[in-house]
Symmetry: D2
Subunit: 393 residues, 4 copies
């Protein structure tokens, strides 16, 4: 029987309140599933929508008790703070433009926070939020879920253990086809039309939606910052009013070089987040569409395929697998690993214990800030005819 760290530490599950994730939200279902998967959270309260009526209806639909179905965030935060059995942690899965307000309010009320990515819509908001989380000494977990897969963790662990050597080269791409259909170049109406509104989604829809994942994955695996970018963002589909691709050359803090490519206009491609990292001792390669495999090509020895819990699995990856080798876990388990580690750290904080250092690899507000700085630098470069721009000015 797998140990449930939160039960072991606190003798109970963490009480979770959610903001967002109501009808039609794919990501809301995923957050709740991730919270449920390892049985460390109990969903106790929620504001499921910005529309109060829909919020209450949705909360009922998922089985929340009547007194903990809330119509507004303010109401929930103060009510849950007052209750003896009030929520421990608030998870935010609203549109990007409300991440900042919701997260700030949750921190102000003393809650630990789990927040969907990108963290905010601007660098300024990201800085303020990061500062607040730091001051309040609360856990701020950002769901860059691709860093939760066993094999991206194995990649990071191999880099940290020196098995890949000094990093020299990085290729990252996040290629999707969801906006390839040119019969509707600019879907400004329809149920998810707000996702195309820069006011709600920040500087760059595509960088917020998928580019931030690619950026985080590079940093997560290499343990290096991207410090300079030379980029172009734009639309390849004629008549389109928002960016559908971004390409960039990368310079990393140790002198490594890289290339970055994201698009949602690649017809027929599903969800191809892919990364290759070469160090002086070997090359790692991982593709989200077959996440249970990590290719490692050591210098001068046969190419290897690593698998979750297979031979050579390092501790950081081991704790991200629930099953023996050969039983593939997927996207939900990767997402859940973020929740799982956050639970262990939050439970430790509540109990006044030092957390297991292996639980501390989930993305935080510091990563959210780095992500916003990257997005701003990319857009700055693109607007300046692809000048080289510093990410940390």
């Amino acid at each position: 029987m797998n140990v449930n760290p939160t039960m072991a530490i606190l003798g109970r599950r963490l009480r979770l309140a959610v903001i967002g994730g109501g009808p039609g939200s794919f990501i809301g279902s995923m957050h709740r599933l991730a919270a449920r998967l390892d049985d460390q959270y109990e969903l106790v309260a929620g504001v499921m929508s910005s529309d109060p009526q829909r919020a209450l209806a949705a909360a009922k639909e998922i089985g929340l008790p009547e007194d903990r179905r809330y119509a507004t965030v303010a109401e929930m935060l103060s009510s849950e703070r007052r209750r003896q059995d009030g929520a421990d942690v608030v998870a935010i899965m609203t549109p990007n433009d409300s991440h900042f307000d919701n997260a700030m309010a949750a921190l102000e009320h003393g809650f630990d926070v789990i927040c969907d990515k990108p963290m905010t819509n601007t660098v300024e908001e990201a800085q303020a939020l990061h500062q607040k989380a730091t001051e309040e000494q609360r856990v701020f977990c950002l769901t860059h879920n691709y860093s939760g897969y066993p094999m991206t963790r194995q990649a990071r662990a191999m880099v940290l253990a020196g098995e890949v050597g000094e990093i020299r080269l990085v290729q990252v791409e996040y290629v999707q086809g969801g906006k390839a259909d040119e019969s509707k170049p600019d879907p400004t109406s329809g149920p998810r039309s707000w996702t195309f509104d820069p006011a709600r989604n920040g500087l760059s829809l595509i960088l917020g939606a998928i580019g931030s994942h690619a950026h985080h994955l590079v940093r997560f695996i290499t343990n290096l910052e991207i410090t300079e970018v030379c980029a172009e963002a734009g639309a390849v589909v004629p008549g389109r009013k928002f960016d559908d691709y971004t390409g960039a050359l990368l310079r990393l803090m140790n002198g490594a070089r890289g290339v970055f490519w994201v698009t949602q206009a690649a017809a027929g491609v599903e969800n191809c987040l892919q990364i290759r990292v070469s160090g002086s001792k070997g090359t790692l390669e991982w593709r989200q569409e077959v996440p249970q495999r990590l290719s490692f090509r050591p210098l001068g020895a046969p190419a290897q395929t690593r698998t979750p819990n297979g031979p050579g699995t390092l501790d950081l990856a081991k704790r991200a697998s629930r099953i023996v080798a050969g039983h593939p876990e997927g996207f939900p388990e990767g997402f859940a690993n973020i929740y799982k580690d956050a639970a262990e750290v939050i439970a430790s904080r509540i109990a006044g214990l030092d957390p297991d250092p292996l639980a501390l690899h989930f993305p935080t507000s510091a990563d959210g800030l780095a992500g916003m700085l990257f997005i701003e630098a990319v857009i700055r470069s693109s607007r300046n005819n692809s000048s080289w721009e510093k990410v940390f000015p």
Copy 2:
């Protein structure tokens, strides 16, 4: 937001009681995870071990309330039957030799049953259990979880829709390496030594453990019975006292032919359950280790790779995916799909409604009986110098 059928039908979750799955049980954790994943079950009671003390300790550890931690199955079944808020369904995840007694007792108390595979240790038990489940008009769900993957369901749906044509050929293999290490040919001591005891595991350890999955997958995808076998079972590792491989030639009810190969002695192989089905219109191929891909090679047209929720996904597969295309689900989700469909059918039964026909593709006691008949025929053939033996005598 995904609809939760049980909540929609009953306005509440199903109340689940478990038998088995205590400390050290991989499959127990998986059953509970599967029950939790889609939020249609609430775990309310359990007998976690055949050792009463360990049973109570384990039940506490996973957070069951004190009054519903039981020391014996008999106690739990009668107590839960009496309670106003008693369990709806009993899930059995004990060693094989107690499936029969536990399932029979649960049926006698009027519970729906979810049971780990293989259903029983003998054909006679299987027949009795199947008859009982039929008489009691209770749901009997057998967790042949590999039939829960979106892509095995897609394969079945394509066959049922006629896209593959008349089935002609089947190749199935289930190859593992867990018993390849020859330094310990006969692990008759150690924590899981009971798994090597025929008295507890039935006629054939390997056929019960993995062969029954391969057998079910053939029937699930082709919608055909295997009617005759010509087989050999034995041990390739010298000095081994239990079978570590079984090979068989197959005849299917429509005249199709096939080959069947299972082993746990293939060094370095993880969990390679693989099937290829050729019909008059094309060939399907699926490999459990990359479950999110289904190869389809139509006669006279380019080979295709089907993916969950990708273009061409049929309804039976669609309902087995929780996420948009390109976000791989894994073994836990496949397992959970069995629980998910069972929940919908049980909830319908309780509510006196006809279930959605698409929910009725999970394995039942009829499949469990077919599985035991197959195992007995294979062993009969092997003992009779690989004679052809009828599966349904």
Copy 3:
């Protein structure tokens, strides 16, 4: 510059005479290409067809000098034997039923022989030919070309070097779709209708055509004989008068077990010859459709993908690659490797030298005889209700 062993040994190329391979012959073109590829042969003479007129026309078409375009085999063999600059070696690429006569005649005239597979149509012919080749001390090379791929040679070399341990399990399959189209179940007319005539193709069309390759590949990689079979051969396509599948259980000389599956009725499949060999130290896996990769899964260490000339390449595989790693060679090069090694051994024989032992891994008349014995045992078993039959009675 790669060394040309024949030029190095003899100061000239080997002079090659061909029998068969005229208009419409795929395999004839391949034989000549294979001979040309490494520049060790000079095509000097030919009887290109059993029809004298077509033989002469075809010989002209491929550029043979007028005096060495022959109308009959007898004429060519005696004429070339008499010439000062006469052929050294005769390559036979006729329909199966004439292999025996042509090869026997060539040996009687003192030529070394390269012969297409299967060697003969009966065991008796195979025995006679093997005896003759042995007595005459001539090279008899049988073009089981799949053993010429760098990665099947690497597999064999790893087994011979003990890297795979004692062989325990073998799975081999040769699956094609060429006869899957049920609109023409029995193509007894048309340009290649003779290929369906048992009188010309022997006991089993499918075993001669592809089963013999699968059989040879097992023996080549494992270095073990298959000693007993339990088999069924038949037709799955209704109304078909020749076998379109054969399945068999295998026992190998060291006690290893295996399974064998060949068919030409798998709709949409191209040319899937595939083998998996498990030994006590690891498992090898190779698939002809991606021949440049050999999977090796060592017990207790990460899975490897070996490539031609990649790290860990053994000598037997090295000599089968012409290019640095990462530049895939294909079917023609694999075929040519058989010709290449035969050339080196024939040149050594002519020069009275001992050949390089690494050149001695190409298939010979001994392999051809083993192949015919296997085919006969399979058919015997199938006709005897899948009895176990000894291959070497």
Copy 4:
């Protein structure tokens, strides 16, 4: 029997003279093998080395007749021009810095030319050579061999046929590991030390060696020019004096965008030339290391894997395959396809016939010029802090 176009047109093979390719030359062996493979060339003369003594020795070693083993290019060109049976075509496989002189001399003597890539070391030379080849109306074939693979030809043919729609996005990478070993960052001594000498290899070693292939492949498949680049070239291995990577953003003539990445410092990677092209109707993907597969993902339909001679193969690809589907051809056959088509066009020219338009897809001096313009623009951009530079100023 495959038709031999040169034999069919001229009644004889083309007579080939080679410059370069002596001892130790991988590419020389490949050129001669490619010429031999389809039996359309007869090697008649050669200057095998710039060292006269080695030239004569090597020519003897490969079997050239004594009177056609030449010590100098000048001698060979004039002698072969005078002979009745003199060479038709001159193939150049010398170091890059002598391509220009040798090719110019061959053209001046009226020969058709086959030349290794990159065509020259400077744009000026490329322009002069292209002009000369055009004026002389001779065939100038440049061996960008990756465009000879059946599946890159299929990709081009699908684009030309409109199956991919309007091109929107291109990703190309050529990643190798040959210079990843940091124990020897700067191999300025040793047998191939000249390959690191810019005087002999032009502006950019890596762009000449592999970048020019990547550039040509983009143009070949998309049928579009790359018109602007924003690039960085440099060395990631500390202490290295030559470039070991180049990254670039691309703008294509129709507004499509792309990314370009080449390196030889990716430890453990063999020869990963890879391209993905997205058009409005679908996405193509091809990887040189598994060249027999072309992925095509049509918008809104299941992903396909195309194979040589498999269903849907277009004429341009069909003529590039020698075998039925499922029998992989490799790098040598792809290389030979360039020679094969050149032969057909040269034979037609000699015979005064119009060549088959399908034979006219091999790279020419126009492609060589485009390649040099690209390399110069990339280096200009890199030296100008990654400014956007026009390729055709």
